[in-house]
């Protein structure tokens, strides 16, 4: 036993050497190996980002379409019929189309944009660069992870073009609706394709997550201890852990759903009548699916949010020229969030008939999340406090993130209480809450990341003016859209309803709904402007001339402006200090690679 531990000095250092030699005889790259089936983590990150952008346009467009219906329920838009034919006969969105739009909007943005597009992009780009590795632990698996995601995307897109349309039971695909093809056309073949696409997606996430975790653990360069890692890497680490442990549970739930749909089993089905006919299924429990779904679903919101938190921490620290406030507290609260994320899933199910005693335990655990979240918020604020802030678009989006996280987080405290949730459940209040805290906030984190690391990705800057317009319109727009929705929800307006005109009470919201719709169209247009800025800048943006344009301490800025496969041309630099030495001993910043001086003060 004891002799099993002969430590051999070449453990990981040889790693670099090996990669070096690899790097040398890797020059015979073709277009295909360089841009398509690339195993370079930077290229894979860009692939995730661009695929994510395409998905975001699709998902965002869907929201504009159903906002048209919500804002102008009594008007017709003939152009819709031109594009969508029978789904919008006479220029009016059909109920089935509306449900399909809502479902796909949720699925696409939660999974394909904010999971794959956000953590897929930045985990791939930043982990090897910031821990000091030539590439991921397994570049091949990394590439496969993208292509599984791509296949998932293809299946999901294809489901939108079949005759019965895509899945339309809500992004949570609760049975029995999703299990019974007879129940609605959105539960026919589109639902099967949804399940298949999600299964492929889980595989992609698993391959990616395993890679991230083992890269962060095994591939750190010399001197890069875990507490010297930038918070981005820590956030991406916890994200990967969440994904590895929770996505398989969704997979199990979906496999059982697939069986219920196609093999006549009764996992989720019991006592059901369709069209006056009793189904033979008995003994299943629809609540079971909700448990399984939310066992993933809750960690999923942190899978979405944590990378944004990590990037915002980094961006805010760099741009306020101050060390991050409370590094260990940040780390501890992310760890706490990561654990709590697994323990609170049933707060999505307070009104399912969940055992009230069990519910009270879930309330307690849910409200506990407020503690680490508040720690993080105060740490961001204190990082900014009396900082020498450079208001770059990235920094603005970082600050916007903090604002949105506070606004959206506070309404989470309402919803986490089971008694209040009885009133608020399935109302627009919930929609407003999670769109602000998870949707828009994560998007802000993502934009902060894109603006900040664009120079690293493409060796050019994005256009600042367009960036400022993008920020202010999105920021104001997000509050104009989602703040009033809280009031609708408090008044009892249900979510997912096509037409609420039968309730006289809600007629007071007509004008408000119109305003929300108009603002969403404007915000959507501004996002298109961002997309234009992104692609334009790839080719025509101002060129980066220095290695370290933001004056940051982390390792990615020690690579060449356009790093090749292998990142560093020579040796991988050694790390001597943590990632946040800003404004120390009269110096603006000290890179991580610089050895600690003899009479340097301690932080």
């Amino acid at each position: 036993m004891s002799d099993a531990l002969h430590i051999q000095p070449e453990v990981g250092t040889s790693h670099g050497a090996h990669h070096d030699e690899h790097h040398v005889h890797h020059h015979k790259e073709t277009f295909i190996t360089k841009y398509i089936f690339s195993q370079d983590h930077k290229t894979i990150g860009k692939q995730f980002l661009i695929t994510g952008i395409i998905w975001a346009i699709i998902g965002g467009l869907f929201s504009v379409l159903f906002r048209l219906q919500l804002g102008f329920p009594d008007q017709t838009f003939p152009i819709l019929e031109t594009f969508f034919g029978k789904w919008a006969e006479g220029g009016r969105i059909k109920p089935e189309f509306y449900y399909a739009l809502v479902t796909m909007h949720g699925t696409v943005l939660v999974f394909f944009v904010l999971t794959a597009g956000l953590s897929g992009t930045f985990a791939n780009l930043l982990i090897p660069l910031q821990v000091g590795a030539r590439d991921m632990a397994s570049p091949l698996m990394n590439m496969l992870s993208y292509w599984f995601f791509f296949m998932a995307s293809v299946v999901m897109i294809a489901s939108m073009f079949i005759q019965t349309g895509p899945a339309a039971g809500g992004w949570t695909v609760y049975p029995p609706l999703s299990a019974l093809g007879e129940a609605s056309i959105g539960s026919k073949a589109g639902m099967d394709m949804w399940i298949i696409a999600m299964a492929l997606f889980v595989v992609s996430q698993l391959l990616a997550g395993l890679n991230y975790v083992s890269t962060i653990l095994n591939m750190r360069t010399k001197g890069m201890s875990m507490t010297r890692l930038p918070l981005t890497v820590w956030a991406l680490f916890f994200t990967a852990v969440l994904g590895i442990l929770s996505f398989p549970v969704l997979l199990s739930g979906l496999i059982l759903l697939l069986f219920d749909r196609n093999l006549g089993t009764s996992f989720y089905l019991s006592d059901i009548y369709i069209g006056g006919q009793a189904l033979p299924n008995e003994g299943g429990s629809a609540i079971l699916f909700q448990h399984l779904f939310w066992f993933l679903g809750h960690p999923e919101v942190y899978i979405i949010l944590l990378p944004a938190m990590g990037m915002v921490s980094e961006v805010l620290s760099v741009n306020s020229r101050k060390p991050i406030f409370g590094y260990m507290a940040m780390l501890g609260s992310m760890f706490a969030i990561c654990i709590l994320a697994f323990l609170v899933w049933a707060h999505h199910m307070f009104v399912t008939g969940l055992n009230p005693f069990l519910g009270s335990v879930f309330v307690l655990l849910t409200l506990l999340i407020a503690v680490p979240s508040a720690i993080k918020v105060f740490n961001w604020l204190t990082t900014l406090w009396r900082g020498n802030i450079r208001f770059t678009p990235a920094a603005l989006f970082g600050i916007g993130f903090v604002s949105l996280f506070i606004s959206g987080g506070l309404t989470g405290i309402f919803l986490g209480n089971s008694t209040i949730d009885i009133h608020l459940h399935d109302t627009m209040f919930v929609v407003a809450h999670f769109h602000i805290v998870m949707g828009v906030a994560s998007f802000f984190g993502m934009f902060a990341g894109v603006y900040h690391w664009f120079p690293k990705m493409y060796g050019r800057y994005m256009n600042n003016t367009l960036g400022y317009i993008h920020f202010w319109v999105t920021m104001i727009g997000a509050y104009l859209i989602f703040w009033p929705i809280h009031y609708q929800g408090l008044a009892g307006m249900p979510r997912r309803y096509l037409d609420k005109s039968v309730w006289v009470n809600f007629s007071q919201f007509h004008e408000l709904d119109k305003m929300i719709t108009v603002v969403s169209i404007i915000v959507f247009a501004v996002q298109l402007m961002f997309v234009f800025n992104f692609f334009y800048s790839i080719f025509k943006g101002r060129k980066v001339t220095t290695q370290n344009p933001w004056g940051a301490t982390t390792l990615e800025w020690t690579t060449p402006i356009n790093p090749g496969h292998g990142n560093w041309t020579g040796e991988i630099p050694e790390v001597h200090r943590w990632a946040y030495d800003y404004g120390k001993d009269g110096r603006e910043f000290i890179p991580q690679t610089e050895p600690v001086g003899a009479n340097e003060s301690k932080h």
Binding site: M1, E10, P139, L343
Partner: protein, 154 residues
């Protein structure tokens, strides 16, 4: 990028004899535990057959089987999968996340049980048709009554 062998440091220098002894010991241990489990399974079977199966006794035996299973899992993981030979931190990264199962199992089962109680309260038909009938030992076979020829039949 394939990594060459230079990255690998973990050579088990355990000598043949001790290792084989250990494997042998574990195999025998696993077999014995499995046999005990099977015996308990048969005991449960016989309790069920009896006139008045005691729910608590059955539960106690089932609890024992669960503990034995966890012991088995421990030996497979620690010896066969060599986790016992790894560095403690590595063991922790694998064992600690598995703690999530405690709440995972508890919450699911409590809610499953609560769903049953709800249905028994509000769905009389469910309760009547599925509740175990306690008056006879539940494996006692049925003997149909001798049929009385019914008028109008045949």
């Amino acid at each position: 990028m394939e990594h060459t062998s230079s990255e690998i440091t973990f050579h088990h220098h355990t000598d043949d004899e001790t290792f084989k002894k250990k494997v042998k010991k574990t195999t025998i241990l696993l077999s014995i535990i499995t046999i005990i489990e099977l015996l308990i399974g048969l005991v449960i079977y016989n309790i069920h057959k009896g006139e008045n199966p005691s729910a608590y006794l059955v539960l106690a035996f089932k609890g024992m089987v669960c503990i034995l299973t966890i012991a088995k899992a421990y030996y497979i993981v620690a010896v066969f999968m060599h986790l016992g030979d790894e560095i403690r931190n590595f063991i922790m990264t694998i064992v600690v996340p598995l703690m999530l199962f405690i709440w995972f199992i508890a919450a699911f089962l409590i809610d499953g049980n609560s769903y049953k109680n709800l249905r028994n309260d509000y769905d009389k038909h469910f309760k009547e048709t599925t509740s175990p009938r306690p008056h006879h030992g539940h494996e006692a076979p049925a003997k149909p009554e001798a049929p009385k020829p019914e008028p109008g039949k045949q």
